[in-house]
Amino acid sequence: MPGKVVIIHPQEPTLAVRLYLPLLQGMALTLRKFLANVFTPSVRPTIEYPEQRREYSDRYRGRHILKSREDGSLKCVACYMCATACPADCINIVAGEHPNLAYEKYPTVFEIDLLRCVMCGFCVDACPKDAIWMTKDYEMSYFSRKDAIYGIPELTEKPSDTGVGGPGYGYRPYYGASPAKKAGQFEPSGLSLLPMTLARNAAINRVPPPPPKPPAPAPAKPAV
């Protein structure tokens, strides 16, 4: 096994240390930082929040949105998958029968209690209809607990969510892994590497594909 257990011996304090001289080094460091911050604004780490904003990645797990179909109706079919997957149990759905028979079901009530939600993204992972995404919106403070329960009107995606100055999409089903890839394009995080036919056959047989094998051992060499 490479590496080892190394024993550190604390150094015996030298005369300089005894005279508190290394403190000067620390002070010099602090002074250098101070002067740099004063004279070169570009090195200041501070993000002047309401005016400047830290850039979060396209996977940021912020406020949820419900996606709509092209005709404006919600994609959600009230299947309760997100509510089941939610560890905080913060999603409340009441299903109704959709007038359009093609859609069958839709949510008459879809509430997320943002003061219960722990922003784990499991609802997005669980949705089989691509109906719930998250945005990069993190500004969620309320004056009462009731304000924080978002219903369908608040959750439905609005142009302001993605428009200029809006938060933009955050965590979504396997998208947005890298800025290089456009939203709307699948990026199934490596799973697509599996040939689909193999997966289909395995699924039909109800036998999941075998787990990846460890690298094949080198061909046995004849014993010398």
Binding site: Y49, D89, V109, D113, M140, S141, I149
Partner: protein
């Protein structure tokens, strides 16, 4: 919830006009201006008392550190002594064991005082629907701003702080508080052991915030009496 509650000093919040300014002359031009000045001063010199218990305390530390720098809003003087603070930031899960301590510290803070509940654990208990977790600190102390997120980003906390400042400046919070009386639900009741009904995962009814009853602020003395009588 019950009459036994009275053993606890019920927090009746005084109108947040500065001490020494008599409210009887509130209609005068000068006092109005003085009110505005006092409110302006208060909002820009909030001294936070971080009641940090858990993960949110780490994010609170982030928001006072150099990347976010809460000092830009006049709130950098973090006081661990409640007597020197006027803004309590409850950052983290509050358990039943912690609850009496939280109440005690709140009572030690001088008026006027505000409370920010940071993170979903403090706001509602979050995903800890459990036998030892307070289901929202508004069971214990009145909360002015609820900041969602688990934990909230420092930006979110600052957002909550700015909202609070706006309300302090506008006086809205003062009027709101003046009109309502806060009745803490649990702390300080009869020491005789009393169990709190279990809430289960399955209870989900609209308006009940998913299995847990929202604490109400009594709108008037009658409502308060009705509430007391009901319980």
């Amino acid at each position: 919830m019950s009459d036994k509650n009275v053993s606890l000093p019920v927090a009746r919040i005084a109108p947040p006009i500065a001490p020494g300014v008599p409210s009887t002359v509130g209609t005068d031009f000068l006092t109005t201006k003085l009110d505005a000045l006092v409110q302006w001063a208060q909002k820009n010199s909030l001294w936070p008392m971080p009641f940090g218990t858990a993960c949110c305390a780490i994010e609170f530390m982030s928001s006072v550190s150099s990347h976010y720098d809460l000092a830009r809003f006049g709130a950098e003087v973090v006081r661990f002594s409640p007597r020197q603070a006027d803004l309590m930031i409850i950052a983290g899960t509050v358990t039943d064991k912690q609850a009496p301590i939280l109440r005690k510290i709140y009572d030690q803070m001088p008026e006027p005082k505000w409370v920010i509940s940071m993170g979903v654990c403090a706001c509602t208990g979050g995903f800890y629907r459990a036998y030892h977790v307070v289901q929202g600190v508004d069971e214990i102390v009145p909360v002015d701003v609820y900041v969602a997120g688990c934990p909230p980003t420092p930006e979110n906390l600052i957002h909550g702080l700015i909202e609070l400042q706006k309300r302090i400046q506008s006086g809205e919070l003062a009027r709101h508080r003046e009109a309502k009386t806060y009745v803490p639900i649990r702390v300080g009741t009869d020491p005789q052991v009393e169990s709190i009904p279990a809430y289960s995962k399955s209870v989900m009814a609209p308006g009940r915030a998913h299995g847990h009853e929202l604490p109400e602020m009594a709108d008037s003395a009658e409502a308060e009496a009705a509430k007391g009588g009901k319980a």
